[in-house]
């Protein structure tokens, strides 16, 4: 490295320019409006809100700056809009639609009335409005990965740099690889993509491998049902991930690398591509980084959306232009991977944490979490949660804190039953274990795993056999077909689970299911297969009585399995003369009895559930019962035609 002072001076120039722009943005006499347009926001109509803001402000002749930002994690409150009026704190507004957007412009921007009706909080200390971090969710959260997500414009490298971005990378340029890896080891960072392998050890193996010049890969092939944190991070702050990847390249001695993002994430691809271009154009990547003599060439690789490509050997095969099929390990890719060269593959979140550790403020990271699992983790909480979204908490937070204190509990008036943690590779942890801490070891002991951090909240209306069946259906369909246990073992398990949910399972089937689960776990080639039985094994462990009810009594305790349930109108609750349910039934299965109350013709009923939704809440007369034999025989014959 030639002139260290020169390098720092050049970076200082970039920083100055970035700060200048950032300050200008906030001190502009024009109001600043930001809209969260990550995919979660777009799905809730953020594009329409953005359009309405642009269109209405033009129509009203208002001078405003409108910018797009990423996801702040509060997906339940999307679309989220922040408005910063000159001389005021920025306010965060929740569930904005085009009408509200227009009202915001009219009252707040034009008339200066903060329009507190649907404000979520202030984003700075404020006299008028409590700040958002007084909300329970922000209070519990510790944002390292998500720190700037939803705040900065992901397509503006200057905004990342103005907020401390790339400082850790510049610092790392002056460190020896051993020092970088040493700091990482001291922080105790573990992989955030699955098994929690110590990141420093992986880097060390890669650095010391004798198979040529190493390569680095960011694994953004997220594919678990219900998990979307990697997407949100790539869409909201791609530079933090790239900075982590760049530091990794320095540590292992790589000058080339890939960001692997699945093609189903078009926005993430767009933003990563823009980030790569920008990093190159300011000189933080490319040949001769800021005159240091170092070079780093990162390419974006679009994966074709096979779940198995999240497995590192399959991911590598697919970059090589081959079919995404895992190969036996060892050799581990860190030793010998892409093109036969040592290849470091790290998850998006792992890499996003790296700048936080190397950024000279290490305490930030290792000050939180537990001893064996330091730092934070981003979980995506979905399912029957009151406030689904992304949550970044210190590891070691209990399940109860996550579900109730942070995400507001269970939606509706239902009771909490279980959490499915870690996607198709993870397991179900029952509500009785809600004091369980979320760290690698404790979750593994409970039979689940951290996985990539997907959490599905389940309530009393979720059938655990069906949950297991759902995940098995997913994994067997995503099997690459290479190994016997994964291709056929998971399929046989699915057949058994399906039979049980149809009420056709026997005790022998249950035994066979357990045997197969054990063999698939032990015998599979890669971790997709080896972890596929986890949802089955954990539900069998914690909810065995539900399986037995399906098998012995043909009863689904959660009253969800269609074949084992029936709809029944309780005559005592049904209001004579009320016709609310009749019209909604698509098969005309509801008839009027002589009492002028309604009943369901079980022969005609297709169990769609429309009548439950139609029955007015003051009656709640339609119920699901299981087993189907619980439905009493019709009490009264059908009313005569002429009774109308």
């Amino acid at each position: 490295m030639g002139h260290p002072n020169d390098l720092q001076a050049r970076f200082a120039q970039i920083q100055e320019e970035a700060s200048r722009r950032w300050e200008a943005l906030w001190h502009d006499p024009r109001p600043l409006i930001t809209v969260g347009t990550a995919t979660c926001g777009l799905a809730q109509g953020a594009a329409e809100v953005l359009g309405a803001l642009r269109e209405s402000s033009a129509r009203m002749g208002l001078e405003v700056q409108i910018r797009e930002v990423g996801c702040i994690g509060h997906c339940y409150a999307e679309p989220l809009v922040t408005v910063k009026m000159p001389g005021m704190s920025p306010y965060l507004y929740a569930r904005v639609n085009p009408t509200k957007a227009e009202l915001l412009l009219r009252y707040l921007v034009r008339d200066g009335d903060p329009f507190l009706d649907f404000v979520m909080g202030a984003l700075q200390q404020d006299e008028l409005m409590p700040p958002v971090w007084d909300l329970p969710r922000f209070h519990y959260e510790k944002r390292l990965i998500l720190e700037h997500c939803g705040i900065i414009d992901p397509e503006e490298i200057h905004q990342y740099v103005a907020n401390g971005g790339y400082k850790a990378f510049i610092r790392s340029l002056f460190l020896k690889p051993e020092q970088i890896i040493g700091e990482l080891a001291a922080a105790g960072l573990r992989g955030r993509g699955g098994a929690g392998f110590p990141t420093a050890r992986k880097w060390e193996i890669c650095r010391k491998s004798s198979y040529g010049v190493p390569l680095v890969i960011c694994n953004g092939d997220e594919g678990d049902p219900g998990a979307y944190m990697d997407r949100a991070v790539l869409e909201s702050n791609p530079h933090q991930v790239l900075e982590g990847l760049a530091i990794a390249a320095l540590a292992v001695g790589a000058s080339q690398g890939y960001v692997y993002v699945r093609a189903e994430y078009p926005l993430a691809i767009k933003r990563v591509r823009k980030a790569l271009q920008d990093a190159r154009s300011v000189g933080l990547m490319g040949e001769d980084i800021l005159g240091s003599g170092r070079q780093l060439d990162i390419k974006l690789f679009e994966g074709s959306g096979a779940f198995v490509c999240g497995e590192e050997t399959a991911l590598i095969a697919s970059i090589q232009g081959e079919r995404g099929m895992p190969r036996p390990r060892p050799p581990f890719p860190a030793e010998r991977g892409l093109w036969g060269r040592p290849t470091l593959v790290n998850n998006v979140k792992t890499l996003a944490l790296v700048p936080k550790i190397l950024g000279n403020n290490n305490g930030l990271f290792s000050g939180v979490g537990t001893e064996s699992s330091p730092g934070t983790m981003v979980f995506s909480v979905v399912g029957k949660s009151q406030q689904p979204g992304l949550v970044e908490v210190p590891l070691g937070t209990t399940l109860k804190q996550l579900v109730f204190d942070i995400c507001g509990g269970i939606s509706g008036e239902k009771s909490f039953k279980a959490l499915q943690i870690g996607g198709p590779s993870g397991g179900c942890v029952p509500a009785s274990l809600q004091e369980t801490c979320m760290d690698y070891e404790t979750l593994q002991e409970a039979g689940a795993m951290m996985g990539s951090g997907g959490i599905v909240v389940l309530d009393e209306e979720d059938c655990m056999v069906e949950v297991a069946r759902f995940f098995l259906e997913f994994t067997q369909g995503e099997s690459c077909g290479k190994c016997t246990f994964c291709r056929l073992g998971t399929r046989q398990m699915l057949e058994l689970l399906t039979a049980i949910t149809l009420g056709k399972g026997s005790l022998e089937d249950l035994e066979l299911l357990e045997e197969l689960a054990r063999d698939v776990k032990q015998g599979s080639l890669c971790n997709l297969g080896a972890t596929a039985p986890n949802p089955v094994l954990t539900t069998l462990k914690y909810f065995r009585e539900e399986y037995l009810a399906h098998v012995h009594e043909k009863r689904c305790p959660a009253r969800q399995c269609r074949e084992l349930t029936a709809y029944y109108i309780i005559p005592e609750l049904c209001a004579a003369g009320c016709d609310a349910c009749v019209g909604t039934c698509p098969t005309e299965a509801i008839y009027t009895m002589r009492t002028r109350k309604k009943a369901v013709d079980q022969e005609k009923c297709v169990k769609c559930g429309e009548c439950v939704r139609a029955c007015p809440p003051e009656y709640k007369a339609v119920v699901r019962v299981s087993p189907t034999s619980e439905v009493p025989p019709p009490q009264a014959p059908k009313a005569e035609k002429d009774s109308h």
Binding site: R327, P328, S479, G481, L488, L516
Partner: protein, 224 residues
């Protein structure tokens, strides 16, 4: 080059460095069930999951094709866990294989027949769901036919194609729908003639053998 000394089932064995445990065992007439293994192939396929052994110091059984021999290694090929996994894998393979031995091109030299005998597993699997397909022959290559319902996806034809620098056989599909796709072959047709010999189960066979196959299979010992 120095030999590697290891112990398999109590026998002291001299193996070549770099050899897999499976190869070392087979070279010394110790039988470990296997299906997808290819002799002399550098990178094991590792797909059939049959060649499990237990190695002292490892908590769970491992596939012997992926384990390079190491000095002093102690290997056992015949433990209960190993046999359980092997039988389980073979039963799964057979649950997805159309058993029609008598009319089959590979009859009496079929690897599945051999494995079933060795592991004491019936060719018609009970307990598991029958996932076998109807006979479905792809004749798009002309000279060589592919019957998907027999295929066990050992990958040998794909590897053969790669060795012969063609892409004529490739894996396609996912999950249970994974199969071998036949792609147009523009090279020397003579080369294709070698392809059916690599198939251990008669899923690939010469077009002129199809007549034999279509003969009535009333005396099949395996068909119900």
């Amino acid at each position: 080059m120095e030999h590697v000394l290891l112990e398999i089932d109590g026998l002291q064995i001299e193996a070549k460095p770099g050899e897999s445990v499976l190869e070392a065992a087979l070279n010394h007439s110790i039988f470990i069930p296997h299906l997808c293994h290819e002799e002399g192939h550098q990178e094991p396929f590792g797909g059939c999951r049959l060649c499990f052994v237990e190695i002292q110091g490892k908590a769970t059984p491992v596939t012997s094709c992926t384990q390079p021999v190491k000095p002093g290694m102690i290997v056992r090929t015949n433990t209960d866990t190993v046999r359980r996994l092997q039988r389980s894998a073979l039963r799964l393979i057979l649950s997805n294989h159309r058993v029609d031995c008598v009319g089959c091109f590979a009859h009496k030299r079929c690897r599945l027949q051999e494995l079933a005998r060795a592991l004491g597993v019936g060719l018609k699997v009970s307990g598991l769901k029958d996932l076998s397909l109807q006979e479905s022959i792809d004749s798009s290559l002309g000279k060589v036919l592919y019957d998907r319902s027999k295929c066990v996806l050992c990958g040998k034809c794909v590897s053969w194609a790669r060795t012969n620098k063609t892409g004529v056989f490739q894996f396609v599909g996912r999950g249970l729908a994974t199969r071998i796709g036949l792609f147009p072959f523009e090279g020397d047709q003579e080369i294709l003639e070698g392809s059916w010999d690599v198939c251990p189960v008669g899923a690939l066979f010469p077009a002129d053998a199809a007549k034999v196959k279509q003969a009535p299979s009333s005396d099949s010992p395996h068909d119900p």
